[in-house]
Symmetry: C2
Amino acid sequence: MREEETFELSENGNLQGNVPKKFATKYKDGSSIDWLHEEALERERDYVKKSQKSIRSLLSIWADSARVWLVVISTGIGIGVAGAWLDVLVKWLGDLREGRCQEGFFYNQVSCCSGLDPGEFCTDWQTWSEYFNVRKIFAQSLLQSSIYVTLAVVFAGGAALLVNTYAPYAFHTGIPEIKAILGGYVFDAFLTPWTLLIKALGLALAVASGLSLGKEGPLVHVACCMAYMLSRLFKQFKHSEAQKRKILAAAAAAGVSVAFGSPLGGVIFCLEELDTFALESDVMWRGFVASAIAAVSLQYIDPFGTSKLVLFQVTSGGDTWRAFELIPWLTLGIIGGVLGSLLIKLNVEIALYRRHSVLNEYPILEVATVSAITAAIAYLVVFTRVQSSELVANLFQECDPARGDYHGLCNPTAMWENVFLLLISAAIKLALTAWTFGMMVPAGIFLPTIAIGACIGRAVGMLTQSLQTTYPKAWIFLACPPDPTVRCVSPGFYSVIGASAMLGGVTRMTVSLVVILFELTGALSHVLPIMVGVMTAKWVGDALGEDGIYNVWISMRQYPFIPPVDYNDKGRIAADAMRPFGMLKKIQEGQATLQDIENLVNVHEYHGFPVVRGRELIGYATRDKLISFIELNLSPETARKRCRFSSPKHQLTPSNDNTIDILDLTSCLERSILHLRKEVPQALVVRMFQKMNLHQILFTHRGQLDGMLTKPDVVSLLTAHFPHAGALSSKGESQ
Amino acid sequence: MREEETFELSENGNLQGNVPKKFATKYKDGSSIDWLHEEALERERDYVKKSQKSIRSLLSIWADSARVWLVVISTGIGIGVAGAWLDVLVKWLGDLREGRCQEGFFYNQVSCCSGLDPGEFCTDWQTWSEYFNVRKIFAQSLLQSSIYVTLAVVFAGGAALLVNTYAPYAFHTGIPEIKAILGGYVFDAFLTPWTLLIKALGLALAVASGLSLGKEGPLVHVACCMAYMLSRLFKQFKHSEAQKRKILAAAAAAGVSVAFGSPLGGVIFCLEELDTFALESDVMWRGFVASAIAAVSLQYIDPFGTSKLVLFQVTSGGDTWRAFELIPWLTLGIIGGVLGSLLIKLNVEIALYRRHSVLNEYPILEVATVSAITAAIAYLVVFTRVQSSELVANLFQECDPARGDYHGLCNPTAMWENVFLLLISAAIKLALTAWTFGMMVPAGIFLPTIAIGACIGRAVGMLTQSLQTTYPKAWIFLACPPDPTVRCVSPGFYSVIGASAMLGGVTRMTVSLVVILFELTGALSHVLPIMVGVMTAKWVGDALGEDGIYNVWISMRQYPFIPPVDYNDKGRIAADAMRPFGMLKKIQEGQATLQDIENLVNVHEYHGFPVVRGRELIGYATRDKLISFIELNLSPETARKRCRFSSPKHQLTPSNDNTIDILDLTSCLERSILHLRKEVPQALVVRMFQKMNLHQILFTHRGQLDGMLTKPDVVSLLTAHFPHAGALSSKGESQ
């Protein structure tokens, strides 16, 4: 599936927005970009344009900026439209599992039955048993349930088939990969138009099949694919990995914005989870614009006819809360942390089992089986029968006689039964989610996690409420209003806190989670309790296992991503980690012939090679530049010439006699290279990689090269503590 | 006012949370900290503790972390309480300008009149004319207005007197200084308990006097003073500038949280405006906790008895908006951008005029005069008579017959008159704010800016509404509901957008502004229009002048703050900016005697000195470590000994004969020092300073020192474009 890049360059191309050929670096999938080099290129381009004070160059500068905004805005609109279309598709497919519309099979249940007067019965919508005119109750429910399960298997199997056949990278959530890409990993095959199409289609099928998965992460992936596709239209982005990543970061924000109807949450998600801190400050601004436009588009299309962004509107009765409620909230936080860690651990174990068992051979069969099991179980328990999003919306609602009861949740006499059912549902969903997240279908972890948390939260809320109504005079409940008809404890809101805590335990996000949750529910007045839940869950979760689920998957797949953690070097210095001089593939200044260098770059696919004279460091030559030079200059007569990388004035021993036999490769040296001394603490080195997004650091002392450390080395340094690091991958890049 | 630090160090102090004496660096006010050094220290401390696997060291690690949280949580509670107390004080002082309570002069009007039945007249509250029993209408209004103006002058003059006499650093907003401090500037005098007390008291007086200023920025300053004061209780923070700054960042978030009732806004303000991107990721988490706790405290004390955090609750009628409204909103954005730039330019000109005119000599008289003028003008125009916060709250409200009319704003027949009055009020407030912000009183810029924007927004909203009701059939208004009694255009919400746009123009913040504004108003459904307003204002503002008002003040006062801008080096390299070898104060390895070094550190207050042999770089010795060494070792007999910084094995020429005459100063060398080559582009160097918060970079080639670049050099490189850079300051630090 790997796309082969061909770079088309015009000769005087720098005014059309691309870079002179000698500077552009081609990266292969699986390598890491060199940010310093990319940024130097950006500056070079800017400078070339700005120094030509002609109208043409001014226009060109303006056009560069216009193209960036064009891509950002189009991506925002595109993902907003795609998100709305996806919602419509999922609703239609979901309804198709229960019946069809007489007016036309392409109507979903709501639009089929629209335009009725209140009280009128909808006759246009037929369940399958009505359609096939089955009368017997037993036969009816058999037919309904078998169509329900069959379509689930068909949808899920179809999604798996699509993904497996056309775009294997379209499986899973996509967030770990986006994190790695934004951190400098090159993985263009992950962002092709094919992946976009299959991920979007497969996602609709997977969600409609009722599998325990959400659309949130995959939407971020879809948004990034869109941005990548749009950016390919302009040469400007083709040749700049840095610019491409800035666009992708904005797209990711737009994806979250659409997934949750949370434009601010999108921006903050990018900052916190995708760690775009390291990028420039204008990334935040672009993400903000993309997010806003995506949300406007979604609201404009208005797939559910509510003209609201808020998905799970919370209508909490009293805006005040009492001190005693901190106890159940802290409990929910602890439960969220524990269950979150459990979900991560289960998920890892299942992923490893899948990889090393026969399941690895039959991904489509696995998906079909799991979807059949999911559908069968779902039919048994009342709370799992509806789609997760509907369940969550109902659990977040307070009981209100005017609005009607949801599955008897508001019946106080059935309280214990309901609590039991809610906890069973949570357990079922937890197990199913741990299995589903990682199968060969597009799958997000957010919605299932919210559903699990919402069930538990509602149960805890109902218990608290029952305690309060049973013992209204207990000192702890004295803060409640004395009037027993006034609600003191709001179980619907406990459900929101449960969801927040569970999300905190699984993703270990903090600020962005709170923002997303309160944009999702509109419960501004309850931001503080949500914070308490998320905080507690994070603390408990961190105590049980260090990483959130996305970082665990990054480690398992061994993407070269440097997490923004505080690295404790235990007093070790760079010298303890670096690849020492003796183990490096080097080029000897003035000694190596062009043929030697060609052999070197053909044998080793490293990013670059240090150039030395003896041990003295001359510079660092990238493989890419060496290859271009070789392509241009290699001939039988030059092959045996020796190569020189430093200009003669720097040579200590003058060698005027044989200048004709020497090739000048000075242009192959990288200007922006960092050297440090090898006595520097490892923590400082890690911090430099984190902050500057470096590709390599050379260690020198008094001009002598001591060793080198590259990004993959630092990644393995940081993930050494994780037991399953690299368990799902065998990729690796050294030097 | 500069506090002289005395460091108390116990001999085996590292288990009590401080660092070994030989490592701790004393910074003087006005210098910049060396982050690399500070972080190395942190790591060293951590490592020392973690390597001692005793229960005592485990307890000590736990205690370290507990102390951090103790300070963070106490600061949160403290600033929440202080904010509530300040609100009460301001309300009482403000009411005192109009009358007094018979029950006791310490009651404000609301608490004096509480407990009345609806319709009952409050007799306990007396206006001054009732108290002095003045009957004639003319005498009444003369008495009232003169007491009103007199108390304004007394309050404002009192605030200025307090500030001028006891804590000159308590003037102004404090945000520019906090930005600089978080960036590494050392300015402990800015954070003393005295400054805390005077700033809080002065702020209450200044706000109550009716001057055109807000409490927001100063509250951030107060929160930072609190955190600093609390952190001084523990040795752990005394000796770590990095830890201190992480605490301060959390405190700043808590300050914003209390000022706006916006816990999330606080966190995002810290990220965006205070640029704590460069700090570690746990800073965000701590800020989040501090913010939440501060908001809980404020809500718990509940100074206004509303039990809500939302200050300016917006009760917008319809949650939907129409496409044609984009036109007035974009207009508001443009107006906000233009007026924001105008306000900044006016403010700068006035600040420069004040500095170079006779006003500089009489700051208290200036404050008194301006407050008299403000009070006199305020009495004339209906919208400026009330406190700004009340005005804003009323402007944000929609007209609702049930709630009563506010100053005839809802009377459609008086529309043109109201629009005129609103615009006049905005103009008056703009002029007064431009003058007030920078006088010798604590003064925030947020609230006045919001008030100006709200007036303009309401005016534009009323014009749009009148247009729509006059021509309901025009094609542009066809999206409105046909029923003329249903409101289509909501002028109150236009007021919110006007305020957002004006804030965007003045501060150039984006995401944090939107978050603050929608936490302030609770208008979640209107986040997108607010984004449009802020976006437009920022674009227009950036086109008219590059920096927001805080950065302009940072430039004018020449704090060593490196803004997170994209620096265009126009092709220049580090060599063009660095202080070359010849101009550096250096120490010659093996040549300089201890006496020489003592002379050097006494004459030059630089942060440190490169150590060289000839031109070969040996290392970098900080002044501080040299001083400690000299204090310990200087005696008549050692004064003439030569100093050696590298261990003998590195020496190229063995000199065993005179080792006795040589002092070993190896311990004075800094381990974490960066060297680059001088051919590196300036933009890369600037980026390293931005990302890594460096203090200096050395430039070497093959071990030879070429030059050095320090933070102040980089700051002047970046602010060179600003015409008034350093206009209000003459500080500077070289080498």
